[in-house]
Amino acid sequence: MNKIRVGVSVNNDKIEFLCSPEDTVLDVLRDNLRLTGTKEGCGTGDCGACSIILDDKLVCSCLVLAGEVEGSEISTIEGMAIDGKLHPLQQNFLKHAALQCGICTPGILIAAKALLERNPDPTETEVRYWLAGNLCRCTGYDKIIRAVMDAAAEMRS
């Protein structure tokens, strides 16, 4: 088998992995690196559960080939809390009960973080449209939107 050797930074740790040409970044994160916090909901880029930040871009990791990310910086849910301290988004998701089953939560947190880095003061509509690529089947989104808005306010103050 023709394996490709790839070096990347994942949550600020330099790592190397071997992958097959058809492996996605999601496959490598979950199966090679055992970073299973990033979830696979569809494998076709429709649900957003596998959202990661790849060199400052929010992407569905199921749509990116692992062989193509040499030298990249990847942020996943596992790197969101720093030294055990939860990010304000994580704290607000807990406070607002913005998760029920929790399977979409890592992807939504990553997507919301990417939003607040670009737009620290989003309107409700902006949050709703930014998160339109992240499916949640449990909550009806209400508490998720509130949690993101409150986290944004907290981070501004």
């Binding site: 429709d46 849910i77 998701f93 807990l94 009960a97 339109a132 499916l135 989104y141």
Partner: protein, 748 residues
């Protein structure tokens, strides 16, 4: 009544508050382990071969080429399984792997275990299948007709009329009174036919499991399920082993909504593991989830309803035809029973049919069977209100079921909350808010039975005064929190001192599936009783220590106190102090409770929705949505609200967009989230929840299940709103833009 309610409100210290859920940090940091997140040493990857034909005889399956592929460790077909004990288990197995016929597009015929997924996929391509295509049927009304292709022979019950094809397997009828007399007394009688599509539960986590089975039958199974005990019972039966040999551990579950109450891959993984001698993991793709796991039934429903000038429903009749795919099921009964549950009717009849089609076997979906039937009934009520120029909310109040009402399906209701929810909706500013052009307001009632069922809870008082609770139902949306809260309430200790864990099947007695909105009710009830048992033991220990009679001590707010004139004036002892002394007073202290819980108490809700329909595109926008629901007692109000909001949005999806679309060759055309469109954040406004608390007499804290009712009203509420906004009566879901637009254009 009011004072009793106030008393219940005053009494609670922890119940009714909104603590951070105990499993929260794991779930916001990616540490929580879901079905696909476990890896075992020496693990193989399992994959299923699925046939993309709706109906065919399997002439032969040749696995010889695939077997020779290096890295392939096991291949199985239906023939690898022995005969099972019941028709029901056999149906489950035949749904996992086809026996003699492929029964729907996506039906699996073989499974492979290999050292990696690439090889497993190659092996699937090397399996040769010879098929003989058969005519197929996917539509419920067509399937009922004589001469229709028959999906499975010999499944028809004796009480089904010979006028129908053999696809009609079952029939039921409920009701009382004389319909014809009622219609005679009506100012208006309407007869309407309704259709609802099959929709999928749409949980974001695909089914996944990791199985390990040894030659002596001892097995371990990790899977995402709503009920590990049910998985054990089914798999043990299929694999021909005793239940004690199979330990099933429920992973964290990424949504279920009823769809994870049965098995699709678990027996396959066990059989592959047994054959290969390795652990085997199977994870479904999204396409497999859509094609081969349970959507809900699709329906065709006739309603005849009469109403007096004053708005009294004088007679009502429903004929409900549910298509639940290739295997018989009981959802038609739940539909027929729930159809008219919201109303106090003199003359009512509901009849239900189950029909087989070449579609995947239906699985439960939140209040299974109720949304379809109640959509039809509530649409008819709304149209009568419009035609007779009556207020739709007042009219529902006039007909509403209450304590003492004999329900159409038999029982007489106890304390129920329908009138309270309707009154609450009437008073809410939403009901009086102005509407603009192209806007409409819809209302609907909803109902669900709520279940109790078999439940075990163990509660251990640790030596350091903390408490461990062991329960047996997966936490699908905050139940660890609510169970811990009820225990903290009962024991009078801080919530932080309690940890609730979910047992595997060998660590606790049987628990029914997480369904029927039963967990907070039943597990809560058992937890409270287990806590009471532990308290009784602690009182006993203290009485012994104080050398007084057991009756001379009482439990109050986490302390044992001397009680009565002769008890002495000992210092009260806290739970923590008693726990610390337990080794000296007789050993570890625990309480447990086992019950087949009754008294779940039926649940009602009322939804109000405002929509705007774009006359140029036919698109419907939800402007405002308010949910009124009786929770009995909301243990953790945030998660009760979450159930009300989440169920509503699933109902919004059902009403506006979601449907299984089959093409003319019987193949599913939209087996992905791009084409099967569930609601996204930008489709929706905030969903306002209004919790009513009419205590359920069947629970020590008055709790009622809240999980399911909320998906029931949106279908009719939205359809009524769209109908009023457009002045066109819609009777078929979903109200997708092309359908609405063509109706608008047709009217012009």
């Amino acid at each position: 009544m009011c004072s009793k309610k106030d008393e219940m409100k005053k009494k609670f210290r922890v119940v009714g508050t909104r603590p951070i859920r105990p499993d929260g940090i794991e779930k916001v940091t990616g540490q929580a382990l879901y079905g696909a997140d476990l890896h075992a040493p020496n693990m193989l990857v399992g994959k299923m071969l699925r046939i993309n034909e709706p109906h065919a005889i399997i002439k032969s399956i040749n696995i010889s080429k695939a077997q020779k592929l290096p890295g392939v460790k096991a291949i199985i077909t239906f023939q690898d399984f022995m005969e099972v004990s019941t028709n029901k288990t056999n149906d489950i197995l035949e749904n996992c792997l086809a026996n003699k016929k492929v029964l729907y597009d996506g039906h699996a015929v073989a499974a492979v275990a290999a050292i990696n997924s690439e090889i497993a996929k190659k092996a699937l391509d090397l399996i040769d299948i010879e098929l003989e295509m058969l005519p197929f049927v996917v539509d419920v009304d067509t399937a009922m007709q004589k001469g229709s292709p028959v999906v499975q022979l010999g499944r028809k019950h004796e009480n089904v009329s010979d006028d129908f094809s053999d696809n009609v397997t079952s029939f039921c009828s409920f009701g009382h009174g004389i319909l014809e007399d009622g219609y005679k007394n009506a100012a208006k009688v309407i007869e309407r036919s309704f259709k609802t599509p099959s929709v999928h539960q749409g949980y974001i986590e695909p089914h996944a499991c990791l199985a390990s089975m040894t030659a002596d039958g001892r097995s371990d199974l990790w899977c995402c399920t709503q009920g590990q005990y049910n998985v054990r019972a089914i798999c043990a039966d299929i694999m021909g082993i005793e239940e004690s040999k199979l330990r099933v551990t429920a992973s964290e579950i990424g949504g279920g909504f009823g769809g994870k109450t049965t098995v699709f891959i678990e027996p396959i993984a066990l059989a592959l593991s047994l054959k290969a001698g390795h652990p085997v993991k199977i994870v479904m793709t999204r396409e497999e989830v859509f094609k081969a796991t349970g959507p809900t039934v699709s329906s065709s429903i006739d309603i005849k309803m009469g109403m007096s000038k004053l708005g009294i429903i004088t007679a009502a009749h429903a004929v409900i035809r549910y298509e639940g795919g290739a295997f018989p099921n009981e959802t038609y009964e739940l539909g027929a029973q729930s159809a008219f549950a919201a109303y106090d009717l003199k003359a009512v009849k509901s009849e239900g049919y189950n029909v087989l089609t070449n579609r995947p076997a239906q699985a439960a979906y939140r209040a299974p069977g109720a949304p379809q039937a109640i959509f039809a009934v509530e649409s008819a009520v709304d149209e009568l209100c419009e035609q007779l120029n009556l207020d739709p909310l007042e009219t529902r109040l006039k007909n509403a079921a209450k304590k003492g009402t004999k329900a159409s399906y038999g029982p007489t209701f106890d304390e129920i909350g329908l009138i309270a929810t309707l009154e609450s909706a009437k008073k809410h500013p939403h009901y009086a808010a102005p509407l603009a052009q192209n806007q409409g307001r819809g209302i609907s009632c909803g109902f669900w039975f709520n279940f109790g069922g078999n439940t075990c809870v163990s509660l251990n008082i640790n030596f350091d005064g903390t408490v461990g609770i062991i329960e047996g139902n997966p936490d699908i949306g905050g139940s660890r929190a609510s169970i811990s809260q009820m225990a903290a309430e009962e024991l009078g200790i801080p919530l932080e001192r309690i940890r609730t864990v979910i047992a595997d099947t060998n660590s606790l007695g049987h628990n029914d599936v997480t369904d029927g909105s039963r967990v907070t009710f039943s597990v809560g009830l058992a937890t409270i009783k287990a806590a009471k048992a532990a308290k009784k033991e602690m009182c006993k220990r203290v009485a012994k220590l104080w050398k007084i009679h057991e009756d001379a001590v009482i439990w109050k707010d986490g302390y044992v106190l001397p009680a009565g004139p002769n008890a002495g004036d000992q210092e009260p002892l806290s739970l923590k102090e008693i726990a610390a002394m337990s080794a000296q007073t007789g050993g570890p202290i625990a309480g447990h409770h086992e019950v087949n819980a009754e008294g779940a108490g039926v649940s009602f809700g009322v939804h109000l929705v405002d929509v705007e329909v774009d006359p140029e595109t036919g698109q419907t926008k939800i402007l405002r949505y308010t949910v009124f629901q009786d929770a009995g007692k909301a243990v953790h109000p945030s998660y009760v609200e979450g159930q009300m909001q989440g169920g509503s949005v699933q109902g919004i999806g059902w009403a506006l967009n979601e449907e299984y679309i089959y093409d003319s060759s019987g193949k599913l055309q939209n087996s992905g989230f791009l084409d099967y469109r569930i609601p996204v954040a930008s489709d929706l406004p905030m969903i306002e929840p209004v919790i009513l608390e009419i205590p359920n007499p069947g629970h020590p804290y008055g709790v009622r299940g809240v999980g399911e009712t909320s998906i029931v009203p949106p279908l009719a509420a939205i359809c009524n709103a769209v109908s009023r906004a457009t002045n066109i009566r819609f009777t078929e879901l979903p109200l997708s833009p092309p359908k609405v637009l063509s109706a608008i254009l047709g009217k012009e």
